[in-house]
Symmetry: C2
Subunit: 261 residues, 2 copies
DNA sequence: TGTTCGAGACGAACAGTGTTCTACGCGAAC
DNA sequence: GTTCGCGTAGAACACTGTTCGTCTCGAACA
């Protein structure tokens, strides 16, 4: 996606390509038409929306979402935070751009195949979790807004495709289109919590062991279930089993709403 | 829960009741034993952890999570933010107390009934969503940590009970004990996003209408699925249908892992 | 070639945040 | 009656997003 497409998606300029600007939520009065801003070549320093998003992703990957401040991104570009506001309306807009950039890395399945639609659905959700997990705690930012950027649309398009291959009713497909990414994002967020704290893997394992002991040591008269399930409750937190379990539950539930269920 | 139990759960004093302190995640070196702080009757102003949590919940309900600052809570108690630090280690600890207070409002089902365990599971998840939704955007804070307070344990205990009535395998129950609250919390969070922005109901409906038109107007050659599903994709966002759909999918998926599935 | 013009860069500043430091005052104990 | 020390609370620190106003410099025009 080039610079013009970005500006157009954000509604900054007149739509020059075929994709209309996504509806944006504003609190105040509707702003006046910002259409007739003439296109200029950049002066002095080559500061552009592209370069800013690039720098933001760099900061995000290296130091996490909390370090992604306007000043820090500006510093990455050898300037101050105030300079970004000529290319980006505010931090919210920058985050939306970063999110859609990240979602653009999604690996989507090819042609929808009715014979293996369930596995294809899982592939999309797995890819979403993987992409979000690859960029530190970006999942936290994704949870706080509904992605409507072009790359998010591309993902929805593919997801609907494979769900349709499963022969599910339209309304089921539509709801699933929210539910499945919600699961991927929420899971990625939970998993990012620990590495955000800077925990090493063995530290995390030790903490989970503490929780297991805590559960097991609970008074059995008040917490018999938690105490007896201390082991299973704290199992599978390090790898993919927990995630795969939830994914399986979701797809099984969806399949039960289809023609074969 | 009284003040001593709170302090004990947080590991501030020697355990006096039967519930041992929950494992807390700390980054730095393990702190020295803070056990031998003598109990004193309060001086001057009657500032206590209880009163602080009360005030925090009041601020949360009235003005939302973003307004829940240390200074604002202090102001609610006719003092400054610094005064709270004598009773609460930091904002994180205050949030944990607030969260467990809120979770304490959960209405849990009675005796687990194998004949209607699925409906009982749904009741727990519905109650979770309702309680979180009743306290503005507290769900955002719940997503960011794993609740291990006494009231959260009470909820897990009840949830495991009804899942056991369903005859599910132990590991399925354990994973479901994470998955179901995750769904309730993530849903409550998404729903809180709009009211956090201060949107009225008709404003929200208008915005959803904008999104529907945006979907419908997308180029059909690139986004045929999204364009044709514009209606269903944006349906049911105002009420409970979306939530109930996801809940049904989850419970169906869980049931398929049980003895009858 | 000289001038004008204005968009963009950017330092300073503002109102916030969580947290720490420090001095002060009051209630209980000896 | 004095002393002791805990809890209070104001000031301050480092940080945030954002705005304001100044200044610079490249392009367009005469």
């Amino acid at each position: 996606m080039d610079d013009d497409a970005i500006a157009e998606w954000l509604g900054h300029r007149k739509p020059a390509s075929e994709l209309p600007p996504a509806p944006r939520l504003r609190r105040g009065e509707p702003d006046s038409d910002p259409a007739d801003r003439p296109t200029r070549t950049p002066r002095r320093r080559t500061l552009s929306t592209q370069a800013i998003v690039d720098a933001a992703v760099r900061v995000l990957d290296a130091e996490g979402l909390d370090a992604l401040t306007m000043r820090r991104v500006g510093q990455e570009l050898d300037t101050g935070g105030a300079s970004l506001y000529a290319h980006v309306a505010n931090k919210e807009e920058l985050l939306e751009l970063v999110i859609d950039r990240v979602i653009g890395e999604l690996e989507l399945p090819g042609e929808p195949d009715p014979a293996r639609w369930e596995e294809q659905v899982k592939e999309v959700v797995r890819s979403t979790r993987a992409v979000l997990g690859a960029h530190r705690d970006i999942a936290r930012a994704c949870l706080a807004r509904i992605p409507l950027g072009p790359n998010a649309l591309r993902g929805s398009e593919a997801l609907i495709g494979v769900l349709r291959a499963g022969g599910l009713p339209d309304q089921v497909i539509a709801y699933a289109c929210d539910l499945l990414p919600l699961y991927a994002t929420a899971t990625a967020y939970e998993e990012s919590l620990f590495e955000t704290l800077g925990l090493e893997h063995d530290q995390l394992m030790r903490h989970i062991g503490d929780i297991r002991e805590y559960f097991a040591a609970l008074p059995v008269d008040r917490f018999p279930n938690v105490a007896s399930l201390a082991g299973p409750l704290t199992a599978g937190s390090g790898g993919d089993e927990r995630f795969e379990f939830g994914l399986d539950v979701l797809v099984r539930g969806l399949a039960s709403l289809g023609p074969g269920g």
